[in-house]
Symmetry: C2
Subunit: 151 residues, 2 copies
DNA sequence: CTAGATGCAAATCGTTTGCACCAAT
DNA sequence: ATTGGTGCAAACGATTTGCATCTAG
């Protein structure tokens, strides 16, 4: 994990940006919560535990900075605020799909890529060069949809 | 097209809501712009041409009302505002996928459903009961991606 | 020293809400 | 009359920005 921070630092440095302590805290929070999808305010609150003097604006600016370098990825699940995740760009586009439970709000991440043939088809049919995609699937998770309950 | 308005009126009426002139203008604007994805403010501006005394709040309230009856569908393309389209719910979930050109901002609509087998798989693998899904594909449209230009 | 980084508060922007008034049953 | 519909302005919540200060190279 330490390596990741170094990589990010290098990425910033090579573009005249600094890896400051505050920025490192933001990054750590994102790294330690890879599975979650934190909002700016949630990141802010977690960073404040370690750096109580941090400002919300700094968190926003840092998230924006990281986003612009594709270090993290922002998304929205329709709740009016952006959410961030440490983004694994594997080179040929982002591959994170989310199952969003409309009942309990849980978000399940599906990391497998299931859209390859679809991309092919879109490319050909619409002459559209895909760089990324985002798939949100709404429904009910297993806990919210008991076997014996229909809807 | 006149029939659609009647249908909507009926849908509202059967739930104790009225199809008022203002609401009809909002609906008409959406109908006349099926291919576009208008924001609340854009709808407002178009409605104002016919009904200059309309208020923005009414437009928001009407859009919310129509959404709650699945007459229209709201979505967001990451530009910080909700966008609305006259929604064709074919009964087994919504099927609108969008190709979003990251260069010119054009939004191409794909109405075919390409995700049926994916849904099957998700249902089985994650025990997740799908009610809807939303797929956004980012990239460059044919006009913004000349054959001889690589990226 | 100089430019970027930061905190704070004010500003912004899309959207929502409270309230008084209007319209239709 | 009663209930829902509407305009206006104020309220809101997430995000951004202006500015003075701080800090690292």
């Amino acid at each position: 994990m330490r390596g990741v921070i170094g990589e990010v630092e290098e990425k910033l440095r090579s573009n005249e940006y600094k890896m400051t302590p505050k920025r490192e805290y933001v990054l750590r929070v994102l790294l330690e919560n890879k599975d979650k999808h934190l909002s700016a305010e949630e990141v802010y609150n977690l960073v404040k535990i370690k750096a109580p003097d941090v400002g919300l604006a700094t968190v926003y600016r840092t998230l924006e900075l990281f986003s612009s370098f594709d270090i993290i990825h922002s998304m929205d699940f329709g709740d009016g605020r952006k959410r961030y995740e440490f983004g694994v760009d594997n080179g040929d586009g982002h591959r994170h799909h989310h199952l969003i439970c409309v009942q309990c709000g849980k978000i399940i991440e599906m990391n497998e890529d299931l859209l390859e043939d679809l991309e092919e088809r879109v490319n050909r049919t619409y002459n559209f060069t895909i760089s990324d995609h985002e798939l949100k699937i709404f429904g009910r998770c297993s806990e919210c949809m008991p076997k014996n309950k229909k809807e």
